[in-house]
């Protein structure tokens, strides 16, 4: 088939129906809507962005498969995306083979995240950029611990103060100390042994919680009370690991500020003004937090409902097509190791989504965990099944690399078998 020139420019009106070939997504997921990415024509890099709709790492104005953010992603993000897109394709493949193993998606996402972090650290070190800055691996999340934010002006002021007290040496010493601290932290993150990994992942997932709220609500707007300024690393009151969204601290504080103004104030359960603005198409799921039973006021189903996962999932292939909206919200949904916070922008949504895509299929284990999460605090015996409760066949399934059709266990895997 001839290659569609309009698609290359990112503006094919026919999208899926086009009679010409759309390279890169021709064989993959059907139904991706044409992205109105007219501005792709003139990229920032002034190289013609011919494959603007195709995921390309680190190209500016590329559109992510979710029709999501036009963020120009750093290579790490690009790798996120390409990872996501492949896992998305895999998700599609999963739709044909619903019994593929869901757990590998999670690992992949974590790996992507960690790789992204490593890459960012390398870039940070080699590029000579300002060291005393906080850093967060995925844009909309909280900052990783171990970095402090010092602006050049503050440092310079310190210098001036020391200068007047004729104490330059102590200034230099303290700067040296800061530099060393920074370097240590960067090296730690670069080398990533298991303990840092675990700490990082939990930070990113849980520590994010405060920041999370925003995007959970399907609505793409950036109403966010989870400003990073908030006590970021409060791993919230230990409730369900699955639903790491702890808006409470964020909200309670934030709602004080902006009560009146925005129509989009989500005010999740924290403030009474639960706006229906959130009810844009997708059930947001973000707040499966048990406390928020006012979730009922939102459009998404309350946690207890078993229908929880389903609406989204059943719509799965379709929602893939739907581009931005439906998809990104999906992630919020309880993947136990969901790295992604909320739908938010591009990359993260991929990860979670693709994961949940895996989850969707043959997921009774997830639905098993659903009701669990709504109430429980530590949920070890409900998130995982102790080995002795598994039949031999189930155990074998868990231990094998992939689930076999027809034999997928209904219970969650035992904790011993999980590789984190």
């Amino acid at each position: 088939m001839t290659i569609c020139q309009f698609f290359l420019q990112g503006r094919c009106r026919f999208g899926n129906r086009c009679w010409n070939e759309h390279p890169g997504s021709g064989g993959a997921v059907g139904g991706r809507q044409p992205q109105p990415s007219g501005s792709n024509r003139r990229g920032w890099n002034t190289t013609s962005q011919r494959y603007s709709n195709v995921i390309q790492p680190s190209s500016f104005s590329k559109s992510t498969p979710w029709g999501g953010s036009r963020d120009q992603e750093k290579p790490s993000f690009g790798s996120f995306d390409s990872g996501a897109s492949t896992s998305r394709n895999r998700g599609f493949a999963l739709s044909q083979n619903p019994f593929a193993s869901p757990s590998s998606d999670e690992d992949k996402d974590e790996k992507k995240l960690l790789e992204g972090i490593v890459k960012d650290m390398e870039v940070w070190e080699s590029s000579g950029q300002w060291m005393f800055s906080v850093y967060s691996p995925v844009k909309k999340k909280s900052n990783i611990s171990g970095f402090t934010d010092i602006s050049p002006e503050e440092l310079r002021l310190e210098y001036h103060n020391f200068l007047t007290s004729n104490n330059l040496q102590s200034y230099l010493n303290s700067v040296q100390q800061l530099i060393n601290q920074w370097r240590n932290r960067v090296n730690e993150l670069k080398s990533l042994n298991t303990s840092t990994k675990i700490a990082l992942l939990s930070e990113v997932k849980d520590g994010v919680n405060q920041a999370a709220p925003t995007f959970g609500f399907g609505s793409r707007q950036t109403v966010t009370f989870g400003s990073p300024g908030f006590p970021v690393n409060n791993s919230s009151s230990g409730s369900a690991q699955n639903f790491s969204f702890k808006p409470s601290s964020g909200f309670a504080a934030a709602t004080s500020g902006s009560a009146s103004v925005s129509q989009n104030t989500p005010a999740f359960g924290a403030a009474p003004s639960a706006s229906s603005a959130i009810t844009t198409s997708t059930p947001a799921f973000g707040f499966r937090k048990p406390e928020i039973t006012s979730a009922a006021s939102f459009s998404f189903k309350s946690p207890a409902a078993s229908g929880f996962g389903l609406p989204r999932f059943s719509g799965f292939p379709a929602s893939m097509a739907a581009g931005p909206v439906g998809v990104p919200v999906a992630p919020a949904f309880g993947s136990s190791s969901s790295v992604a916070g909320f739908g938010g922008a591009g990359s993260r949504s991929h990860t979670a989504f693709s994961k949940s895509s895996g989850d969707a299929f043959g997921i009774s284990s997830m639905s098993a965990s659903l009701p669990v999460s709504s109430g429980s605090t530590t949920t070890d015996n409900v998130l995982f099944t102790p080995k002795d409760q598994l039949t031999a066949e189930e155990l074998e399934q868990f231990q094998s690399k992939k689930f076999t059709l027809g034999k997928i266990p209904l219970k969650p895997p035992p904790v011993e078998l999980l590789n984190i």
Binding site: T46, S61, D71, S151, S258
Partner: protein, 359 residues
């Protein structure tokens, strides 16, 4: 008014006249250099508002002073006046009628400088250096907004020594911008808050930072109806995020772009990444200018998402920039911004760029 005292700024320490035969790069663009530049790094620049005939430029420097020049259409700059603080000056702004200049300094105060009488009085007090200062003119009130490293945002009626209002920030204020009725404040720890200023300033929304590193500068832009609709946020990592407040399609409308990096589009080799020190929007065309630690300034079109122009590299970082009220003049300050952490001999040049005529 008096010239700038004992400074050696004029004609020395690097402010060579253009057309000089040395190959130093302090003014590769051959723009007009402002005479009597401050001695130490310039922290902030501000042009006078349209209510004042002519163009006056105010610059605050780390030499504790604030200077005023008149910039004539011919490009000539005439030093006009100067005021001192007891600490480096971090931000300056004009009142809307052009009669007063507000200056914020590391000495934890902000002062109001009446240009007619050349008197400056203190109007604000914080517990830590005041990093940003803006004048707010609302239909029912007008005040000065100061943001400081003491994590507060205070609003001052210039006549009283108590603030009209104090708002808490999650972290130290790093940069802010005001275009009525919207104000944006970017803080440390990647905090980002939007305020609405109608009837009284109140917090509108806290936004998740679209950037991964420390925030450095922010500038609000307006839509075609001249209403503020979003902002551009620059970080230390050579990246600017364009963010709309209520876009029809946030995922598509908000984006970030890389700038002030050494390697252009080639991402395989390690690049040098420089901080974006200042962002300014052209008042008429809506194009934006960014200046960075790499000593370059660039102009961008955020709607077409293209880069319009990049300057040659100056030998020092560019610390601040500003457009005049009709966009004819672009001023940028080339001076050390502490990006290399050590004290560097600080000559600073203030350059008023040629009239920017493009379509």
């Amino acid at each position: 008014m008096s010239l700038f005292g004992t400074t050696s700024g004029f004609g020395t320490s690097g402010t060579s006249m253009f057309g000089s035969t040395t190959t130093d790069n302090h003014n590769p663009m051959k723009d007009i250099e402002v005479t009597s530049s401050p001695d130490d790094s310039i922290g902030c620049l501000s042009f006078s508002p349209p209510t004042l005939p002519g163009n006056f430029l105010i610059a605050g420097s780390w030499a504790n002073d604030v200077r005023c020049w008149e910039v004539q259409d011919s490009g000539q700059t005439i030093p006009k006046a100067q005021q001192m603080h007891t600490g480096p000056v971090l931000d300056v702004c004009w009142s809307d009628d052009g009669s007063k200049v507000f200056t914020a300094s590391c000495d934890k105060t902000a002062k109001m400088w009446d240009l007619n009488s050349n008197q400056a009085i203190q109007i604000a007090q914080h517990d830590a250096p005041v990093k940003t200062i803006h004048w707010i003119k609302a239909p029912n009130y007008s005040c000065v907004m100061t943001g400081s490293w003491d994590k507060t945002l205070k609003f001052w009626d210039t006549r009283s020594s108590n603030p009209m209002m104090v708002l808490q920030l999650p972290e130290r204020c790093y940069c802010a911008d005001v275009i009525y009725p919207m104000a944006v404040v970017a803080t440390a720890e990647r905090g980002l808050i939007v305020y609405q200023l109608e009837s009284q300033p109140s917090e509108f929304r806290r936004i998740e930072s679209p950037l991964k590193h420390q925030h450095r500068c922010v500038a609000i832009f307006k839509d075609k109806q001249n209403k503020p609709t979003g902002f551009a946020l620059g970080s230390i990592e050579g990246r600017v995020a364009i963010h709309y407040i209520n876009p029809p399609n946030p995922a598509k409308d908000n984006f970030t772009f890389k700038c002030h990096r050494s390697n252009g589009t080639n991402t395989s080799a390690p690049q040098d990444i420089y901080a974006v020190n200042g962002i300014a929007f052209h008042p008429v065309h809506g194009t934006l200018a960014t200046v960075g630690s790499d000593g370059r300034f660039s102009f961008w079109d955020k709607d077409a998402r293209t880069k319009l122009k990049t300057s040659e590299q100056l030998d020092q970082p560019i610390a601040a920039c500003c457009f005049n009220h009709n966009g004819n003049i672009f001023a940028y300050a080339s001076s050390y911004d502490w990006s290399k952490l050590a004290a560097s001999p600080c000559s600073s040049e203030l350059t008023a760029a040629r009239s920017l005529g493009w379509t």
